[in-house]
Amino acid sequence: MSPIVLGGIFGFIYGFLLQKGDLCFVSAFRDWFGFGTTRVLRGIAAILIVAILGWGLVLTAGWAPLSRLWIPSFGYNSLLGGILFGIGMTIAGGCASGTLYRCGMGYVHFWITLAAMGLAYLVFGYTFDPWVADYWFKPLRLWKPFTFYTTFGIPYILTSVIVVLLLAGLMTRNLGLTGWVDVLRESLGDLVRPWQLLRKKSWDTRLVGILIGLTVTVHFALLSAWSITTSEARISVLLVKPLVGEDAIGSNTYFSEIFLGYPQLQLGAGEVLIIFMIIGAFVASVLGGVFRVRPPKLTRVPNAVFGGFLMGFASRLAPGCNVANVISGLAGLSVHSILVSVGIAVGALVVSYYLYGGRLVRPWRIGMGA
């Protein structure tokens, strides 16, 4: 199957599942900090557990090369970029993936957010060489790519199992074995009624998490690591191509870098994936009866514009968004992505503190229970 078709299929599945679980990373962090609920965080934890085990298995079996992992060089840029991304997404009210699935649900607010992100990619491209490259990456990005998969000299799957046990141990601190069994029984029980499930308005986030974790694993084995914002940056460049001309794009250091390996300035599998994420979310919302063109509140348009712009620009500074780092990067056990993920959580914490009037609960108590 061609990569373009695969990109479309995976994009559709991601969009469909994210909508069904209403799985937004902003909600995961902000609601955990704001009033201590972990409904969405549980879904993200389920994605991670399945994806880390899945990727370990894929690498061990040789179904994907180690070079397919997304492991950038890292440094202070990772943490700072993550913080800025976390601030941007919390102001906008949706992360990179949350923005896409809500575009498919008819939210005009998130179409504005997406447009602001697109503008940010272009501004980044025009400021990259020399300013951002010289004053951000050169002094801050200090260390070479690092993944824990190659640290201990043991089979990849064993590393995965150790990491998952540590993660599960942390998450079950407030939950016994019974809780885990209940979690799995509740989540998987829905699968035996597929037609009813398709029409159900919302799905248990743990079920969605498990299904996305499996999709991320197959995606990794067959095509690539899942990411969003670099593909969105390519789409932005393609949209302005008729205005600025192909030569102007070819002579831009950053734009030519992100199109490296592309035979022409055209859509690739990653870009088709983005478009189909919106389509998948649209189909899911229509099936569930929750599609509706939702006009934005005018007073919140600045949130969409400023938050979206900051989120887009920060995704280039880190680099990577919530999906590339919190999902693909953590499944790849990349130090860069661990730092970005911590940064995103810190950024979300800072803005949540302001939004909730200084009232936050104990964010260090992670629970996986209902």
């Binding site: 902000r30 609601d31 009033f35 949706g94 649900m105 009866g289 929750v290 509140k297």
Partner: protein, 86 residues
């Protein structure tokens, strides 16, 4: 969504129409409105933000601010959340 008919017959003491608002404003505004209401008073929040049907009840119940009486969808994609101040 539950108890559609019973919910419809409830008389809200305050109606908060937050259609068009996205997270976290439906939660922030429900909290603020409830805090200013006397115990037993009913707040009706109208939202078209799907995730608010989870986050608003979670937030107000977690803080002991209100009891959620139910959620009614009318028309499709618009949710009426009924809460009684505690």
């Amino acid at each position: 969504m539950q108890g559609g008919i019973e919910l419809k017959s409830l008389k809200a003491d305050k109606i908060l129409d937050v259609k068009g608002e996205v997270c976290p404003y439906p939660v922030v505004m429900a909290r603020k409105a409830l805090a200013a209401m006397p115990p037993g008073a009913i707040l009706l929040e109208i939202t078209d933000h799907t995730i608010s049907t989870e986050t608003v009840p979670e937030a107000v119940q977690q803080e002991g601010l209100a009891e959620v009486l139910g959620i009614m969808e009318e028309p499709a994609g618009v949710y009426h959340i009924y809460m009684r101040r505690q």
